[in-house]
């Protein structure tokens, strides 16, 4: 069934969009990532203009994260205090990210830099997570109890705060920085930023894996909501029709994903996410390295 999207100005199969939403929703529920890093390229493939894809995926992430975060709040696996600190950083980061994005757009190299950002971040994080998860699995097979992180540079910083749900007493500066980094990425790459925030929360902040997913979803909701409003008011690129289709698929997928996530071990979850991140990274890297079929692209055609 073809459906005409009012803002994107293209006609797309409605079930295809529902399917994309559902797939990304499953991932969102399983891993606590917004799925923007997957939904944005998928929307390019079905012919949605990039600007609309980026802005609308931000809107879709709000919805899929909302049902996810509700499920986590019920199970009390959200560190609200930590989430608020991350959010404060995230809003500032999103604001700065939009400014950088507009600057790059004037230079005409936004596409390239966004792609390079994807390859760089996904590559580094995917590899790190993969190696770490393998090590964790080997440790648990060996029977040795997983060691809690020792004191690192994170613990030496000032402005300490108690995060009871996470069982942490650390400085607010690292969470603020992590939140800000996710916010910048949300604005530049059109992603929720979960794929950078989740590992950062585990490896830098040392948060327990159980609360990481819910807390990152909590931060992502507000940052992507803010990004949606920014895109809607500056570029008019949020497509309500597209968003509704992605959301309907996404909210159902998220529920399924949350159930799958509960049944799997944290190490298994992490290794799956690492593989997924590396696969997307490889695809994007190939696009940059191989000679494209069409050397020319059109812009400003509307």
């Amino acid at each position: 069934m073809q459906i005409y999207l009012p803002i994107a100005e293209v006609s797309v199969n409605a079930f295809l969009l529902l399917g994309i939403g559902g797939l990304v929703g499953v991932l969102s529920g399983m891993f606590g990532v917004g799925g923007g890093f997957l939904i944005t390229p998928l929307l390019f493939f079905v012919g949605i203009p990039p600007a609309v894809a980026v802005a609308t995926s931000a809107n879709q992430i709000v919805a899929s994260s909302f049902s996810g975060v509700l499920a986590h709040l019920k199970r009390k696996t959200v560190d609200l205090k930590m989430g608020t600190v991350l959010l404060a950083g995230g809003l500032a980061g999103a604001w700065a990210g939009v400014a950088v994005f507009n600057l790059l757009r004037e230079m005409g190299q936004v596409d390239l830099l966004v792609r390079l950002c994807y390859v760089l971040f996904l590559g580094v994080i995917g590899t790190l997570m993969f190696v770490e998860s393998l090590r964790a699995i080997r440790r648990s097979r060996g029977g040795a109890p997983p060691k809690r992180k020792q004191r690192t540079w994170v613990h030496a910083l000032p402005f300490k705060m108690k995060f009871r749900t996470s069982g942490l007493y650390i400085s607010v500066l690292p969470p603020l920085a992590v939140g800000a980094a996710a916010g910048v990425l949300a604005a530049i790459m059109g992603v929720g930023g979960g794929f950078i925030m989740v590992p950062a929360m585990i490896y830098i902040l040392g948060m327990p894996t159980k609360v990481v997913v819910g807390t990152s979803l909590f931060q992502i909701i507000f940052v992507t909501a803010f990004t949606t409003i920014l895109h809607a008011t500056t570029n008019y690129t949020v497509d309500m029709g597209l968003a509704v289709l992605l959301i309907v698929g996404g909210v159902i997928g998220a529920q399924v994903g949350t159930q799958i996530g509960l049944k799997m071990k944290a190490e298994q979850l992490r290794i799956l996410l690492a593989l997924l991140v590396m696969a997307v990274c490889a695809k994007l890297a190939l696009d940059l390295l191989l000679r494209p079929d069409e050397l020319y692209t059109l812009a400003g055609g509307r």
Binding site: M1, S11, F66, T234, Q255, Y296, L298, G301
Partner: protein, 252 residues
């Protein structure tokens, strides 16, 4: 067919001089609705003449449909440091968002170069490009790329021999608007040619517009962006919460 009889009546009723086009369109408005998947426009007409059909070269008909002209930035990639990067860009000053040419024969056969230049009929002529910036060179490559990409998307179409001409008097053709057309006034032109020269021309507009919900969403997004943004979020949150609540009920 009804329209033919009607046209013949009009033909007979009007005083004639030389050869003139009398034309009709199956629709002068195209409504883009939620389930819009393209539209076929039937363009038909007749040649009105006061004298018998002239001897010699046969009559030909050229029909063009053009969407609104907008500037387009064409970028070219080149390999830099091992990766493919946008290096050069040329702005094409005005290119139609949609362009279709249907003719009774091949374009070179029915229209000579001078007339093509004057009326801007062929696809390269319909695109206006003042020239490439300093140092880029080969601006023609960029215009060619524009035509290639839009042709692939079904936005630029050439249909030689697609106009059906009966006894040098009645003609008709159909132009398919793809689903990815944009809003605007689409100019439809009909040329009568003999020996490559234009004998008569006719021009009319087809209004391509979004209607209903599509119209409302588009207008709101552009006129009240903040309200639109907040509404999008409200829908997103309502859907997210609604599905969550529905799943909870299902489980209990």
């Amino acid at each position: 067919m009804g329209w033919r009889a009607l046209l013949l009546l009009i033909l007979l009723a009007l005083p004639a001089r030389g050869e003139e086009v009398v034309a009709g369109l199956s629709q002068t408005r195209v409504a883009i609705t939620t389930n819009f998947s393209g539209s076929e426009i039937l363009i038909f007409g007749a040649v009105k003449r006061g004298a018998p059909i002239p001897q010699g070269q046969p009559l030909h008909v050229v029909v063009t449909v053009a969407g609104p002209h907008t500037p387009v930035l064409v970028r070219r990639k080149a390999r830099r440091f091992g990766i493919w990067v946008n290096t050069d860009a040329v702005e094409v000053d005005a290119a139609p968002s949609f362009y279709a040419v249907a003719t009774t024969g091949t374009l070179t056969e029915v229209l000579n170069d001078t007339e093509d230049l004057r009326h801007k009929v062929s696809i390269p002529r319909a695109i206006r490009s003042v020239g490439a910036p300093e140092g880029v060179g080969a601006s023609a490559d960029f215009t060619e790329a524009l035509i290639r990409i839009r042709s692939r998307d079904g936005l630029y179409q050439m249909h030689p021999g697609a106009v059906d001409l009966r006894e040098q008097t009645l003609f008709r053709t159909s132009i398919a608007l793809p689903a990815n057309v944009t809003e605007g006034d689409y100019t439809t032109r009909i040329f009568l040619t003999r020996d490559g020269a234009v004998v008569d021309a006719y021009q009319t507009e087809i209004g391509v517009r979004k209607v209903g919900l599509e119209r409302w969403v588009f207008t709101l997004a552009h006129n009240q962006p903040l309200i639109y943004g907040i509404l999008s979020l409200a829908i997103a949150i309502a859907a997210g919460w609604g599905a969550s609540a529905a799943f909870r009920m299902l489980r209990n």
